[in-house]
């Protein structure tokens, strides 16, 4: 399951979605919005996605992960729109027969997501905002 959503992510729903009788491990990555960036207070974040391409790129990452690890089930949910501090911005759940593959594949998916998936994050401060990573 891969989704881009405006709604709050329910972590338990993703864990349930990857439940599998063959699974010996489920690994879950939860990315939450932090209240500061290099000591500057962040009020909230605003995410934007080029949705159809984001889904396609996420699917490609999953396919690459599946060719490296015996993934039984996976679930990925990424928020768009305003995300308040402390809320989940992204959740990735993976189930595999043994824990090593679960840890490694989950890490691979979030690391690759940050490189190629067309989703953008704007940090909103008291006195302005900035698109994250836009400038070197």
């Amino acid at each position: 399951m891969i989704e881009i959503t405006k709604d709050k992510i329910e972590v338990a729903k993703l864990i349930a979605a990857v439940s599998d009788e063959g699974a010996g491990a489920t690994d879950v990555f939860v990315g939450t919005t932090r209240n500061k960036t290099s000591d500057k207070p962040v009020v909230k974040l605003d995410f934007e996605a080029y949705e159809p391409m984001a889904i396609k790129e996420l699917q490609k990452i999953v396919n690459r992960a599946k060719s490296q690890w015996p993934i039984l089930k996976y679930a990925i949910s990424h928020r768009v729109g305003v995300v308040e501090i402390g809320e989940e911005a992204v959740v990735i759940a993976v189930s595999t027969p043994h824990r090593k593959a679960a840890f490694e594949s989950c890490k691979f998916i979030i690391d690759e997501l940050k490189k190629t998936v067309p989703i953008w994050k704007k940090e909103i401060f008291e006195d302005g905002d900035v698109w994250v990573a836009a400038h070197p």
């Binding site: 995410f47 080029y50 990424h78 953008w120």
Partner: protein, 83 residues
């Protein structure tokens, strides 16, 4: 030389730079992605300041030597920052 008109759609900071969701671009037919990018960078010098700028066509990243065809919709992909 014949020209084609191409629709360019922008996201994130690229949208702020062009000042809207999209812009039309006139290109000499046979132009490549690299040539379209150069035109855009001439028109919007702020693109030069970005850490990276890629183009997607039909929801796929395209290489800079890809020829742009009539009817293509170009999507500007500034540095991604999901997660």
């Amino acid at each position: 030389m014949t020209e084609i008109q191409i629709k360019v759609v922008a996201f994130g900071i690229a949208r702020d730079i062009i000042g809207g969701r999209g812009v039309d671009l006139n290109l000499a037919s046979g132009s490549t992605v690299a040539q379209a990018m150069n035109l855009l960078k001439d028109r919007y010098p702020a693109f030069e300041q970005l850490a990276s700028l890629q183009l997607a066509i039909n929801e796929e990243y395209v290489p800079s030597d890809r020829e742009i065809l009539a009817g293509d919709e170009l999507v500007l992909i500034p540095p991604v920052s999901g997660g």
